[in-house]
């Protein structure tokens, strides 16, 4: 795998750059949301909501589209191609986490609008926490590339 990484064609680099950069923004935005919402301040709720809505969701879209772009460059989307397990796992984590992200954004948005956190604040922290764990697993999958 090390050798494969070293001989990656140059024309994959830009797609990979967009993928990793957007994934980093996504990770940063969900951690920022978790830390902000977990506090007791009303401003933290708003920051958490905006971090998810303006940061995490657009970054998720960019991460997902660039993943598709790389997969097509590697011909992994062609008919009859045996897709490696790590690619499938990446897509599963990505798509599953999007539903959780949407739920967290809705919860934090309602909590911010109501002006108090309560159960919705806790729900947001739990949901965002799940995505953080999922993304750490995704980072491991992308680096170790288990087959």
């Amino acid at each position: 795998m090390t050798v494969l990484g070293a001989i990656r064609p140059d024309d994959w680099n830009f797609a990979l750059f967009v993928h990793v950069l957007s994934a980093m923004v996504l990770f940063g935005a969900v951690v920022l949301a978790a830390v902000s919402v977990a506090g007791s301040q009303q401003a933290g709720l708003r920051l958490g909501f905006r971090s998810l809505l303006i940061g995490a969701i657009p970054a998720w879209i960019a991460t997902r589209l660039s993943a598709q772009w790389i997969a097509s460059k590697e011909n992994l989307l062609d008919e009859g191609v045996d897709v490696p397990a790590w690619v499938d796992i990446g897509f599963i984590i990505s798509e599953g986490s999007f539903l959780v992200l949407i739920a967290a954004t809705v919860c934090s948005g309602i909590a911010a609008r109501r002006g108090h956190g309560g159960g919705l604040r806790a729900a947001t922290v739990v949901l965002v926490g799940i995505t953080i764990v999922a993304y750490v697993v995704a980072i491991w999958v992308m680096s170790a590339k288990p087959t």
Partner: protein, 137 residues
């Protein structure tokens, strides 16, 4: 061994992104409390050390790279620049009045500190460019 080194190296890089995203939000006017900035700063500390130590370890571990390769030297220089700028950003926020993060208030940001933050973020993006294109490798 290689897989774990690469995983923790990547994870450290993702911690740097937490700092970059948090301070970007503040630079754009978001009200971040002291706890949020504290977490962002710790992510920078752990991520910065992790990327450097594990990156050098990877360069020594892999036969196809040498520590004196141009892109690795460039990455170390960019890392030093980002670290220096990060120190300035942290001090800039610590000196900010009123509402210092340490007091649990909402941080405000001067344009000079914001500029240092954006330059630091650019340095982090530059590091990513070097890691992916590996010019000269």
């Amino acid at each position: 061994m290689y897989d774990w080194l690469l995983f923790f190296h990547l994870l450290a890089a993702f911690l740097l992104s937490v700092t970059a995203v948090t301070y970007s939000a503040v630079a754009l006017g978001a009200p971040a409390g002291g706890r949020t900035l504290f977490v962002a700063d710790r992510c920078w500390d752990v991520g910065g050390l992790g990327t450097l130590i594990l990156g050098v370890w990877l360069a020594l571990y892999l036969d196809q790279y040498e520590i004196w390769d141009g892109w690795i030297i460039g990455a170390i220089v960019l890392w030093l620049v980002a670290t220096g700028l990060g120190d300035g950003v942290r001090r800039g926020f610590a000196d900010a009045e009123p509402g210092t993060p340490a007091a649990g208030g909402v941080a405000t940001v001067e344009s000079r500190v914001a500029l240092m933050h954006w330059l630091r973020t650019l340095a982090v993006v530059g590091l990513l460019v070097l890691m992916i294109w590996k010019p000269g490798a």
